[in-house]
């Protein structure tokens, strides 16, 4: 089913009606050039908006560049500083913790809910429509609502806790809990994406193997483990990768809630870089940090990407 560029590029036989014969149209008709022609806008776009900032970041990371003073090259100074900086590594660890916990919960919860919703019931479209709302509401706006809900003096969640006899919880003030409170917001916001993607995948699965399994009297768990899961695995990997990429950039929900605190317990890498770049305007260090983060994330996602390609090939 894979498309190959080895298809004959010029159709044999029957001459097409009034086909123009310019140089451009020859390039269009030829697969080898056409595939690159299609990429021209993207490449131009990348050059202007991706390559330039990346090159800028890499070059600046070797400079002492504190606005408004002019830049000067300082070799590996910034890199040495970043590698030795305690707050960088602690922010990195916090981010990693955030990403891993949030994405794992979202995938597991999303899959469970998708399985739960994968049946016919009254008002199904309407109910599914409601579940998508967290995804579309601006995270900055909703994080402020969460800030209110989490409040320990007048927040609804603590009120509900009190009703069932639980003690008051400092969701945003207790440094052992704050990160999980922020993760919960992320989970609330993004699980719907997982639900819908997995749900779509479940709807697209072939019926026969499942009917056969039912006839054989296989248990629900067995069916899930041996049939459903392998079939939706590629989708899960993709959505995990997309979520990972996004979670690394978490910023808005911190802005509205903990702002990195208490102490530095929820300070993520994006927050730290923003601080270094926009509070201190030390572009050298800020870009050294970002390039380092980019490199690390690239390695991580590349591993996942390899897995994904493998899984797709296997399926």
């Amino acid at each position: 089913m894979q498309a190959r560029s080895s298809y004959p590029s010029v159709a044999p036989g029957a001459a097409a009606p009034a086909r123009p014969r310019g140089r451009l149209s020859r390039m269009i008709e030829n697969d080898a050039t056409f595939k690159w022609l299609l990429l021209v806008p993207a490449l131009l776009f990348m050059l202007a908006l991706v390559v330039y900032p990346t090159v800028f970041a890499v070059v600046t990371s070797f400079q002492k560049y504190i606005l408004p003073r002019p830049a000067s090259f300082v070799g590996l100074d910034n890199w040495r500083w970043v590698l030795n900086d305690v707050s960088f590594w602690s922010a990195f660890a916090t981010t990693l913790k955030f990403v891993v916990i949030a994405v794992v919960i979202e995938i597991v919860l999303g899959t469970l809910i998708a399985l739960f919703l994968n049946r016919e019931f009254r008002g199904q479209t309407f109910i599914r429509g409601l579940c998508i709302l967290p995804l579309v509401a601006a995270p900055f706006a909703t994080s402020l609502a969460w800030r209110h809900l989490y409040n320990s003096d007048y927040g609804v969640i603590n009120y509900l806790f009190q009703l069932v006899g639980l003690p008051r919880v400092e969701f945003l003030a207790d440094s052992s809990i704050a990160l999980f409170s922020v993760i919960a917001i992320d989970v609330w916001q993004w699980t719907p994406l997982v639900i819908f993607v997995v749900f779509a995948a479940l709807r697209g699965l072939p019926k026969e193997p499942f009917e056969a399994a039912k006839i054989d009297g296989a248990s629900a768990w067995f069916t899930f483990r041996r049939l459903t899961l392998p079939m939706i695995k590629p989708v899960l990997l993709i959505v995990a990768m997309l979520r990972m990429v996004e979670a690394f950039r978490v910023y808005d929900i911190l802005y509205g809630t903990t702002r990195g605190g208490p102490g530095t317990s929820t300070e993520t890498i994006n927050w730290l870089i923003f601080r270094e770049g926009f509070q201190y305007f030390d572009l050298g260090r800020a870009t050294a940090m970002s390039v380092l983060v980019l490199l690390i994330v690239l390695v991580l996602t590349n591993l996942l990407f390899q897995q994904l390609i493998k899984a797709i090939r296997e399926s």
């Binding site: 595939k35 908006l49 599914r128």
Partner: protein, 271 residues
């Protein structure tokens, strides 16, 4: 019977969890100031006030901000489609550059936004794009580009290349094949990425905040920030403004949902 009861209990729990924060925002936006921080929290029985909406509208100048959001969201989406549809098609149909370029494009989204925004600021200044719609459009197009290309790539892989091949044999030129055969097939995937691109652009905060400086180009999401005042967050007006800001997306989600269910599987599941 018990099973069905349990199922509906689950549904109620699920819908409740999804909706509650948004409903709570609605609740806050209708509550008089003195009840905003009441303990125990007041859920239903209060005399609603509608004063927060006009207050919010006026003090954050929401009219122009909403218009900016519309322009920026639509503009960046059109730009993204122009760029990523052909690119994704090329990747899917010809495996151009064997996935390396595709991965590179995807990876651009991993760069911390805080790092990208500084170089952007500097180039945009040179080209006079700061505090313009175009500047924000470009920035939003940048971060939607990778997502859209990736999603479209998945869809396009599902299209059987033989359709195109046989059309070629029939003597159709490439532009004709596109117009008559490929485009009709592309409609649903384009609808999906359009929806996501509009949504991400509408909700984006950091770029929209840094690259704009006045109401001439600031988007509504960035505008909510100003309800954080010296004497605390003004819960009523803030919630009212936030609801006005997210309402178009809530309505829009109905549309989004239809397409997302239709198959946001990234082409990774065999049918």
């Amino acid at each position: 019977m018990a099973r069905s009861l349990l199922f509906w209990f689950g549904i109620v729990l699920l819908v409740g969890a999804c909706l509650f924060p948004i409903l709570w925002m609605l609740n806050l936006s209708l509550k008089p100031n003195e009840l905003a921080q009441a303990w125990p929290p007041v859920f239903f029985f209060f005399e609603p006030t509608f004063e927060h909406y006009p207050t919010a509208w006026r003090s954050a100048n929401l009219g122009p901000l909403l218009l900016n959001s519309v322009i920026v969201a639509i503009g960046s989406t059109i730009l993204v489609l122009l760029v990523s549809v052909p690119a994704a098609y090329s990747f899917a149909r010809y495996e151009t550059s064997r996935g390396h370029l595709l991965f590179m494009i995807l990876s651009t989204r991993m760069m911390p936004a805080a790092a990208i925004v500084v170089p952007y600021y500097l180039i945009f200044r040179q080209f006079g794009l700061l505090n313009t719609h175009m500047g924000v459009i470009l920035a939003h197009a940048f971060f939607n580009f990778s997502f859209c290309t990736f999603v479209l790539y998945g869809f396009f892989k599902e299209i059987d290349p033989n359709i195109e091949y046989s059309a070629m044999i029939d003597g159709y030129s490439r532009p004709e094949i596109f117009r008559r055969i490929i485009f009709p097939l592309l409609k649903p995937p384009i609808a999906v990425v359009t929806s996501f691109s509009l949504m991400f652009s509408w909700n984006e905060f950091l770029f929209a905040f840094v690259l704009t400086r006045t109401d001439a180009s600031r988007t509504v999401t960035a505008g909510i920030e100003q309800f954080w005042t010296m004497t605390g967050i003004q819960w009523g007006p803030m919630s009212a403004a936030a609801l006005i800001a997210i309402a178009p997306m809530l309505v829009f989600s109905i549309y989004l949902q239809k397409y997302i269910v239709r198959g946001l599987t990234f082409g990774a599941v065999k049918r």
